[in-house]
Point group: C2
Chain length 505, copies 2
Amino acid sequence: MAALSTADHELHVRRLGLDTQHEAVVLMRDDCPVCRSEGFTAHARIRLTSASRSIIATLYQVSGTFLGHNEAGLSEAAWRRLGVVDGETISASHPRPIGSLSKVRGKVYGERLDASALTEIVTDIVGGRYSDIHLSSFITACSARPLDLDEMIALTGAMTDAGDRLSWDAWPVVDKHSVGGLPGNRTTPIVVAIVAARGLTMPKTSSRAITSPAGTADAMETLAPVNLDIPAMRRVVEHAGGCIVWGGAVHLSPADDTLIRVERALDLDSEGQLVASVLSKKIAAGSTHVVLDLPVGPTAKVRSDGAAAVLSESLTAVAEAFGLKTRILVSDGRQPVGRGIGPALEARDVLAVLQTLPDAPADLRERAVTLAGALLELGGAAGEGEGRAEAMATLRDGRAWATFQRICEAQGGMREPPRSFHRRPVPARRSGIVTGIDNRRLAQVAKLAGAPDDKAAGVELHVHLDTRVEAGEPLYTVHAETPGELDYSLAYVAANGDIVEISGD
Amino acid sequence: MAALSTADHELHVRRLGLDTQHEAVVLMRDDCPVCRSEGFTAHARIRLTSASRSIIATLYQVSGTFLGHNEAGLSEAAWRRLGVVDGETISASHPRPIGSLSKVRGKVYGERLDASALTEIVTDIVGGRYSDIHLSSFITACSARPLDLDEMIALTGAMTDAGDRLSWDAWPVVDKHSVGGLPGNRTTPIVVAIVAARGLTMPKTSSRAITSPAGTADAMETLAPVNLDIPAMRRVVEHAGGCIVWGGAVHLSPADDTLIRVERALDLDSEGQLVASVLSKKIAAGSTHVVLDLPVGPTAKVRSDGAAAVLSESLTAVAEAFGLKTRILVSDGRQPVGRGIGPALEARDVLAVLQTLPDAPADLRERAVTLAGALLELGGAAGEGEGRAEAMATLRDGRAWATFQRICEAQGGMREPPRSFHRRPVPARRSGIVTGIDNRRLAQVAKLAGAPDDKAAGVELHVHLDTRVEAGEPLYTVHAETPGELDYSLAYVAANGDIVEISGD
């Protein structure tokens, strides 16, 4: 149809500031000449071509005067991918069929996906050629027709190849990853500090929160800048042996970001996609030795020890195919870790552990030391069975804290996490033993109080499972930056029964 | 969260005239108080509550001044479902989880869907609670884990129960359905006329084009009004024994319309969903005897005789479970039927057959008479093996034509299909035998010429497979209402090689 791009079919682009996440969306009038002559209908996938680029976008049609006859309103994703400026003209046409969708259909009907099919699919996903409907179908098909080992290896390779790839002069290059986060489980800054202090190289990229009250990058940002590009990240790692930066500036496995959002909407975690998601980022980051933490619990991603065993086997086998050494730790995933939930509150827990303060949360320290110990052993910096003790020693004698400060300075300067202006404790309604904590609703309380955008907002938990409390004693304190957010969060608490369950005497 | 709907969280609705098809979409500023306090992120599913109703919509966020801080821009689907007027206030909150999605996930992992699960799923789909991502997952799961007979029956029942249901005093009530239309295959008006002339009751509802150049309702509308409500439809059927009206005013299986659009985007036709789609509409329409036409061909929906046999068995068994008598005809689906492609051009073919004109398209007459004959036998109006001859006699002696005119008058008055103002023949580039006709691209030529919105626009085909043509002889004529559309359509013809293939001498 390119032959038909006459002046009649030119459209002036207009930036709508519309955030549709990864999906490119274009708005046109239903009575515009292009829609009429091309026979476009609402929800059609159409090809937009600017002077320099061509993308596929989902069409929504509008009636009325909100857009002109020759205007194309673009979502942010479409605007970015097309690389246009305001008022520039583009043309619109029917796209060629997306070849790799026939491979997805094949998988739906039980065919295996080989490496070339998965490369095609991942290339089309990264190129923005799949709509949400197509992404959902691919994810569902990989759950209904589980990927075998060869397919997992091929998908991991395709996802790795679709993005940037880092390489390091050092060897080994270590990393850690926790599958299915628990609120407050902020071990990464501690682990990096310990293993870097012992001479291992750990160039860590972390994510920001998408639906949680804080990601590692959000918490770390209250302690030091995290928006570093690759050259800046290299300088930090050369200077301090490790870093904790935001992965958003580094496109290590761009297909993963797109897939994860749709997986979340579906609440589907296929083993194959989980393995490829985790390992493609590690391989692309240039890691050689990786410790993987699998928390098991009723509200964690991995629900049983049996499921953890199956997943461990796949992770290990796929990692081996790429020459990546792994060690897998299965941990308790029944409740939040530490005390803070929210960026600054979690950062304070991290500081307390690194500074070996007497009231530092013991569970967070225990997890961090276990993970760091496994990494020390795996990376050859400690003998087998001695990693945990070595890690604890590195923490206790202040080497980890010194290394952490060096990392923060190298990233742009260490800073003090902000404190909230408005706080209110939520008291126990009865005396007894804590028998349950609703992770999901507690995270919601933190979000309603402003986290992660308001860095100081969140929840400070004063109890854990099996703690004995008296009626009226505070169970947790809500932190907010404005009185309105505090009230709003507490209204949710009042309307939502016992988020911390207490069994009576 | 209803307890939290304070004035802070009220939004003024604004109608955007945005056609997103079935999906309810709401636009809000990313910095609006509701998004901040609720922690809504782009693409979240959120609950909107007006004075009278509550719906779930997909959130897109906008930056800049296009919306006010307290405005919620609504798509047409959201506007309709919420039942609001401009400037009315609504509130927004987190929705409760959609319970039936866990049933979809169960199906993904291989669990069977029982009747109550399918009822829940279909109810949520009709209630607009599924996003496109969820719909795609359900459709994919039903293809990857094919529905067994009990599941097909349960899905058919759930889809039937989700909409309106017609009942008739007459018995039998007959209907016909063609699975996977071929361009020009416009037998319905002829079939209704023949069987109604022979005393059977045939209250036919038909669709408009979605992606084709004409639906039966579009073609019929050039001959008589088709926008009848149920009481008007009843009057026509009582007076004339049959009708051919637009099904859009009658909600016989509302889940089907939603599912079909996503199935089309995925190009997935699971047998179970096809069976439920076809039969739920027939059962809801009050039909008792149905003839189903399965065209088989490389570009038809059913690709082989084997596939037709499997599908026939399921259709028959599910129909039987609802007391519906069926007869299935397998037909040739390799090329367009008749000569006209486009509303008025197809209507003219129908008229030529009904008026027994000497140049009426023989293939269209043959198909219509075969289907009508099967219905006469199935409905007890002709002896076994005598239906076809009886149908032909009813056509030849003018009874069908008289009945058709009576139906048109009862629907609001018969009229003459419009004629195009601008036509141009496309000549054969060489002499030889027609060996192939690209249905898909020929339909595209008709759409570019203006069909179905421009009723007179389309393509008039002068050849079929195996026709001998001389170089320069017209293969087909493009009809348009404006010179611009004619040129545009012909530019597509010029750019797209031989749509009609001719093998040289």
